[in-house]
């Protein structure tokens, strides 16, 4: 079982959209500086769980929650939680690359402007650092002032990662980040996660690509119909699942 200290503790967490009970009493400790994959069949609530971590559901009026998620021991759903500070420390990358209609540079600098960093040198330094950290610098260093829409899909997705990294988050939430990418771009993205990000950030990645989960993650959580079925070290979950439902899913019986 898991022994590392946890960065995020999801405890007895329930979530509803209107009357639909999407997440059912989920309890899960996400280990610090590791990559946790959340897997499960379509509609099992894995993206919903991911978006609960940075409270993106706040935008959906029909959403209700019970239970809490603790971030370094602090309540995320507490009444006095600063949700903007939370989202700064918990970065998110979405399913489809969604750069802003701005230049490559301005995309990465965006978060810095938000959080009151206006010194030009600092911004330039942190933009360059974020682009290095997302394996994108060599490809874009000569087109920083060009529109982000001129980049390829894979580059756009890495730009979105750079944009998230620029504000120095501690956690990265990746919501099926490769599902809109071609195989080559997917490989580059996985390489980025494994070689650059793993070990530096606490990463939670939602995916329904089993091979991808096996390649990039250290831990795996398996969700079905809104319930947590299994959680453990990725190698163990993949080779010797404890629950029959996990085993069936891995063998491709449903999903």
């Amino acid at each position: 079982m898991v022994t590392t200290s946890e960065k995020l503790r999801i405890s007895d967490f329930d979530l509803w959209f209107d009357k639909a009970h999407i997440l059912k009493n989920v309890s899960l400790d996400l280990p610090d500086n590791e990559v946790t994959a959340i897997m499960g069949p379509s509609g099992c609530g894995k993206s919903t769980l991911l978006r609960a971590i940075n409270r993106m559901h706040d935008l959906t009026p029909s959403c209700r929650t019970r239970g809490d998620i603790l971030f370094d021991g602090e309540s995320i759903y507490g009444a006095d939680t600063d949700v903007y500070e939370l989202r700064k420390r918990v970065g998110m990358v979405f399913q489809c690359p969604n750069p802003f209609p701005k230049s490559v540079f301005e995309n990465v600098a965006y978060g810095l402007h938000l959080h009151g960093i206006h010194d030009k040198k600092t911004i330039a330094r942190r933009v360059e650092q974020a682009l290095h950290d997302s394996n994108l610098w060599d490809e874009v260093k000569d087109k920083l002032q060009e529109s982000a829409f001129n980049l390829s899909g894979g580059q756009q997705q890495r730009l979105c990662i750079a944009r998230a990294l620029a504000v120095k988050p501690e956690v990265l939430l990746l919501d099926e980040p490769a599902s809109a990418l071609d195989p080559h771009s997917t490989a580059r993205l996985e390489e980025l996660i494994v070689e650059q990000l793993r070990g530096k950030y606490t990463i939670v990645i939602v995916t329904h690509n089993l091979q991808q989960a096996a390649r990039v993650s250290t831990h795996t959580a398996f969700l079905m119909l809104g319930e947590l079925v299994e959680f453990g070290i990725t190698d163990e979950v993949f080779t010797a699942p404890e629950d029959e439902r996990t085993e069936n899913y891995l063998r491709g019986i449903f999903g």
Binding site: N54, M56, L59, P61, Y84, E85, L86, R87, K88, G91, M92, F94, C96, N98, P99, F100, P101, Y110, G111, H113, L114, H115, S147, F149, C160, R163, A164, V167
Partner: protein, 287 residues
Amino acid sequence: MLKRNARQLKEKVMFSLSGASMVVVVGFLGLIIAFLVSKGAEVINWEFLTEMPRQAMSEGGIYPAIIGTLLLALGAIIFAVPLGILAAIYLSEYAAEGRLKRWIRIGVNALAGVPSVVFGLFGLAIFVILFGFGASLLSGSLTLGLLILPLIIRSTEEALKTVPNSFREASLGLGATKWQTIRKVVLPTALPNILTGIILAVGRAAGETAPILFTATVFFMKRMPEGIMSKVMALPYHIYALMSEGIYPEKHTAIAYGTALVLLGLVSLINLTAIILRTRARKRKKW
């Protein structure tokens, strides 16, 4: 089996009918322009555009009316644009879907359908009399502003809706507040479409007669307007005045048509700007 049948005949008839309607519409449009040009072009020259009227307006130009119309439209914009954009932001970005929002929308649409003379009466009662602004540039601008407010709210709301939600999510996900997201991402993205809506509203404001009839305009002024409390001359009202009260019909009619031509040109110019802006924005759009 392969013979022409009733279905094909219907197709031909409908094709011809709709084509003919098209010709009629374009024909009327051409006729209006040709008519105005033939009747009014003779009086238009540099002097007509840049000089004060003389000799009970049978000589000279319509310069003060052109300036008056521009000032009224400008005033209406200064009043209606900030108010309209903020209201649209509230509706599109802040207000939750629900009954209240539906009612507000119905209200805005109803306001857009109110006849313009009713706005004129309202402006007279409220701005001219109750607020004591008198018949003035200020009262006329406010009344015209009210008239175009629903247009601006609607077009801005539409413009905001075309901004993909993924942009908002990306911004909020980085820790932006809603207002930061609106100011830094949503508004800049929607700006070309918002501007297009505003420019079309200016065109509407410039052409209206009824709202300024009781609130701002005079038939004739010896001097240019001196401030926001001055009365003004305006192109649409000038036409009305010349045709209804002109004492030299043979001269005044020609001047009225000339004025109409100038007004048409002005409004077309404004609309053309909007079209150019929209086309350029569409070309640049890549998401």
